[in-house]
């Protein structure tokens, strides 16, 4: 039982409170009469000192508190400023520096909850007063607590093996940490592996990515699991347990050397199934290598295609062909359980399905492609060996690239996908280079912020690529003039000229939006984090904590947090790894000592609380006939306390006394 932590009970000493009202520049002062609030605080019986200051979180601001504690012997502190989620720790630290127990502190949120959300200055001031009154009354019932620490397990789980996951994993592994990299696909590499060139430098994606992929594969500190998913996660920061599910690839990974003999030997002489990696532009066999640089360079067998796995009947020519007996049809789903202290989520994005916009004729008319399909066409390892060709094998003489397909569109995704403008410029350049075709870009606004991006745009303007500022209404095969016969006609208003235009082309490229992964909800729940409205994972703070989440120890990298290009993704992955390392190298993390305890004198042993606890931290001491809470298992939700009929269960920092006085305080005034 956790009495050690009860410290001096309320009432043992008279509270002498110092109240500090922050103006936060004009953030609070513009809506709240600061001096009025300060004077009001001064009138409250238990208040010894009441001051206001421009920026309480600044050093001089904190100095105020420290000096007053020393000079006036204050034993309770209230700061009325921003949200405790932002600065509670700052002011607790100040109390500590002055020799006061940090938990003798309470914060009143008069910025996020008052000045920023209230129009009327008088009402705002009144509200601020009531919040201050509540904090002052509550803090009198605060008592000293010991800090609670958890040790941080040094292992890290990285979920998603695209360029974000690869970068984070390598940074962590190179720092000597054990990393588990989990990838759903048969190979790591993600979208970047499908690209040919990267903007704005036009260096070859494979040339810069492949070495990193094999580095991951061969790194002693990295356990790389492909065709795997995280099934569930339990525990808390410092000590997570993750259950990882491995799907069978029907190939012994350690035996296969990627000689591809089995593929040639397969009873299917030609490919018959869409190759996912080529965005469906090429066909593969039931047994196949995802792509030449696949890592691991191990073939796999598609159970939805393989005769033997479906019907149990096949000559199994592949088995005969494999000298290393790597093929194993008996493989089943297997599981691993790993202990990690921190997690980096890098689950990436999915590209928009243009079938949802029938006006662009994708899937209805030939030679209408998504940008990803074109990435494969221009790629030397792609289905056409790097040739940009039409369905009939000829080179296009004219190509139209349509921007913002599924982006900036309330009916689909209201946001800007941020990479499409540059990606479209890149494709325009490559297509022109490979085919000499006339290339038309149809854009709403050209967005090229970033190092060397605007320069790249200039370059293309110089190359004679056509730019038409206007969103395309329709792609049709219906000709109005002879030269439109047999062409794809793009209809748009050239808004710079202020006239409608019809441009006949041989090929249309749809720069499709970036969307959250379809299963983002499941991932979010598995890791207990939040999502934005669109389904992107929510960072703790848009500016100051862009890679942290609201769950300690879980960090975000890459497009799973929002549309990003490669440079931004890599930078963010590095940041996420850095955050994890900072936590690991400190070795421990301080957490709120807000655990619950039970007063044996009051407990009737009714067992009401037992089923309430999600962590089975409560047991019944049969000899004493009372319930007891194991403070190590208790995570401090207080659900048992809310249920206790006799008031025997209490929660540190949220005792009944503290809550009741806060309620009274908040209403006593006004």
């Amino acid at each position: 039982m956790d009495t050690s932590n009860n410290g001096n009970k309320p009432g043992q000493e008279r509270a002498k409170v110092g109240v500090y009202v922050c103006a936060c520049g004009l953030n609070i002062a513009s809506k709240v009469h600061i001096d009025e609030v300060r004077e009001f605080a001064g009138t409250l019986p238990s208040v010894g000192v009441a001051r206001d200051y421009k920026f309480m979180c600044s050093d001089p601001g904190q100095e105020l508190i420290i000096n007053d504690i020393k000079e006036h012997g204050l034993n309770r502190i209230v700061v009325a400023s921003c949200s405790p989620l932002l600065h509670e720790h700052t002011f607790r630290k100040a109390c500590e520096d002055a020799g006061l127990n940090p938990y003798h502190f309470q914060m009143a949120n008069i910025r996020e909850h008052v000045s920023w959300v209230t129009e009327d200055m008088e009402l705002a001031t009144e509200k601020a007063k009531s919040l201050v009154a509540a904090a002052v009354e509550r803090v009198a019932f605060h008592y000293a607590l010991e800090k609670k620490r958890v040790d941080i397990n040094g292992n890290v789980l990285v979920v998603g093996g695209g360029i974000a996951g690869i970068t984070a994993a390598l940074n962590l592994a190179n720092a000597g940490k054990q990393v588990y990299l989990v990838e759903r696909q048969p190979s790591i590499g993600g979208h970047m592996a499908q690209f040919d060139k990267t903007f704005p430098t036009l260096d070859c994606a494979a040339c810069i990515l492949t070495p990193k992929m094999s580095e991951v594969k061969n790194h002693p500190n990295i356990t790389m699991w492909t065709m795997s998913e995280v099934e569930n996660v339990s525990g808390y920061v410092g000590n997570f347990t993750a259950k990882v599910k491995h799907y069978p690839r029907y190939i012994k990974e350690d035996s296969c050397v990627g000689c591809n003999d089995c593929i040639d030997a397969c009873v299917f002489k030609n490919g018959k199934w869409e190759n996912e990696f080529d965005a469906g532009l090429s066909l593969r066999k039931p047994v196949y290598m995802p792509f030449p640089q696949a890592t691991p360079s191990t073939v796999l067998i598609d159970p939805e295609a393989c005769l033997y796995l479906m019907k149990g009947k096949c000559k199994q020519t592949c088995v005969d062909a494999c000298e290393r007996d790597a093929i194993d049809f008996t493989q089943q789903v297997t599981y691993d359980e790993v202990e990690v202290g921190t997690v980096v989520l890098s689950t990436g994005f999915k590209s928009f399905d243009p079938k949802r916009m029938p006006e662009y004729a994708y899937g209805r008319l030939d030679n209408v492609h998504t940008s990803l399909e074109i990435e494969r066409l221009v790629n030397s390892t792609g289905p056409s060996g790097g040739e940009v060709v039409l369905k009939n094998g000829e080179k296009p003489k004219s190509v139209g690239i349509i921007h913002c397909v599924g982006s900036r569109d309330k009916r689909h995704n209201p946001y800007c996908s941020s990479v499409c403008c540059m990606a479209s410029l890149k494709l325009a350049h490559l297509i022109k280079e490979r085919t000499g075709a006339q290339v038309y870009n149809f854009y709403i606004d050209m967005r090229t912020p970033g190092k060397g991006y605007e320069e790249f745009y200039d370059k293309l303007l110089g190359e004679g690529v056509h730019f038409i500022r206007g969103r395309v209404a329709e792609v049709t095969d219906w000709a109005m003039t002879p030269e439109e016969e047999g062409k794809l006609v793009i209809r748009a208003e050239d808004t710079m000229i202020g006239m409608a235009r019809r441009i006949p082309v041989d090929m249309v490229v749809l720069a499709v939006a970036l969307e959250p992964q379809p299963d983002h909800e499941d991932i979010r729940r598995t890791f207990n984090i939040s999502c934005s409205k669109e389904g992107w994972f929510l960072e703790r703070h848009p500016k100051l904590a862009p890679v942290s989440t609201f769950s300690d120890g879980i960090y975000l990298a890459g497009a799973c947090q929002g549309p990003k290009d490669i440079p931004a993704t890599v930078a963010q992955a590095g940041a996420a790894a850095g955050e994890a390392l900072a936590l690991i190298s400190r070795g421990y993390m301080e957490i709120e000592p807000n655990t619950a305890w039970i007063d044996p004198d009051l407990c009737s042993g009714c067992k009401t609380c037992l089923p309430q606890c999600p962590y089975t931290a409560i047991t019944r001491n049969e000899d004493k006939g009372v319930a007891e809470i194991n403070p190590v298992l208790c995570k401090g939700c207080g659900t048992c306390v809310g249920a206790c009929p006799s008031g025997a269960a209490q929660q540190h920092l949220f005792t009944d006394d503290q809550v009741y006085t806060e309620i009274e305080g908040i209403l006593s005034h006004v």
Partner: protein, 294 residues
């Protein structure tokens, strides 16, 4: 199922063949209709251009009338004209969504001894025939299938835009399915199906308006359609009655029968030409229909 029938002004004049054929088809298909007593013009596009309250109250009055006739339960009102169909739907929405307008309408109606309960659902004949009667039943009824007849189904704007209530906004299919069930073959022309026919511009700004109608007819001919089928009196009027002036204007010997889908359906159901108003068309469909009987 019993329906309230709101013909609208055009079906009493230039759209007479539509009304004649539609009522015949309904009779065959067992769709019971009763014309709304004392109905008035829906206001079309003109009223909305002059005064909003007038437009909404004018259209709304028909809804209130229907509710007065049938004080109990929900009412299904058939509006065969695309313009009426949309205007009535819009009025319903506006009266229910725009606070002041709604209050004003209620007030005026009650003083005129009517109440507006919002119990009327506006239905288009295509919707009723496909979704209430059903294609199987239609097939059974078509004793004289339109074998070998190639039809270009033209839906017009206002039954799929802005509200797509019973059909796909981009590629509507109900009329195609209906006439296929009647044995006809229909052409693939997604981009034409709901393209504007010019509306009233054909008469006022004829150079612009008639060009829009011409584009549709020309495309129908290119796809070797024998006949264009329509579901709106204004569309039909534009696509048929102006062919004479189009021939001069675009120096083209264009001659494309443009009928109401109900006339074709009625023909397939073995109903007499006279009863379908087929003899009252300016561009005679006789040749086309003969061909498919042979």
């Amino acid at each position: 199922m019993k329906y309230v029938y709101y013909p609208g002004c055009s079906l009493k004049s230039s759209g007479k063949p539509y009304e004649e054929s539609l009522l015949e088809v309904f009779k065959k298909a067992g769709v019971e209709v009763e014309e709304l007593g004392g109905w008035n013009c829906c206001g079309a596009t003109a009223y909305m251009s002059v005064d909003e309250s007038d437009a909404m109250a004018l259209a709304g009055r028909n809804l209130a009338l229907a509710e007065k006739e049938h004080p109990e339960g929900r009412i299904e009102m058939i509006a065969p004209c695309n313009a009426c169909y949309l205007v009535l739907m819009k009025a319903k929405k506006q009266i229910e969504e725009r606070a002041h307008l709604g209050a004003a309408v209620q007030d005026a109606f009650s003083r005129a001894g009517m109440t507006y309960r919002g119990e009327v659902t506006i239905r288009h004949p295509l919707d009723v025939l496909v979704n209430d009667v059903g294609l199987d039943r239609i097939k059974e009824l078509c004793t004289r299938p339109l074998k070998g007849l190639k039809v270009a189904c033209y839906y017009g704007c206002q039954i799929v835009r802005p509200y797509a209530t019973f059909d796909d906004q981009f590629n509507p299919m109900t009329m195609d399915n209906l006439l296929r069930a009647a044995g006809a073959e229909t052409v693939e022309w997604t981009s034409m199906k709901a393209r504007c026919c010019g509306g009233t511009l054909t008469g006022t700004i004829d150079s612009a308006g008639q060009r829009l109608s011409y584009i549709i007819l020309k495309e129908a001919r290119r796809l070797q359609a024998d006949v264009v089928a329509t579901a709106c009196p204004l569309c039909q009027f534009n696509l048929e009655c102006y062919q004479g002036s189009m021939r001069k204007r675009f120096d083209d010997d264009l001659e494309m029968p443009s009928l109401f889908f109900s006339q074709l359906l009625g023909h397939a159901m073995g109903i007499k030409r006279r009863k379908l108003g087929l003899q009252d068309m300016l561009v005679s469909p006789r040749k086309a229909l003969k061909a498919c009987e042979a």
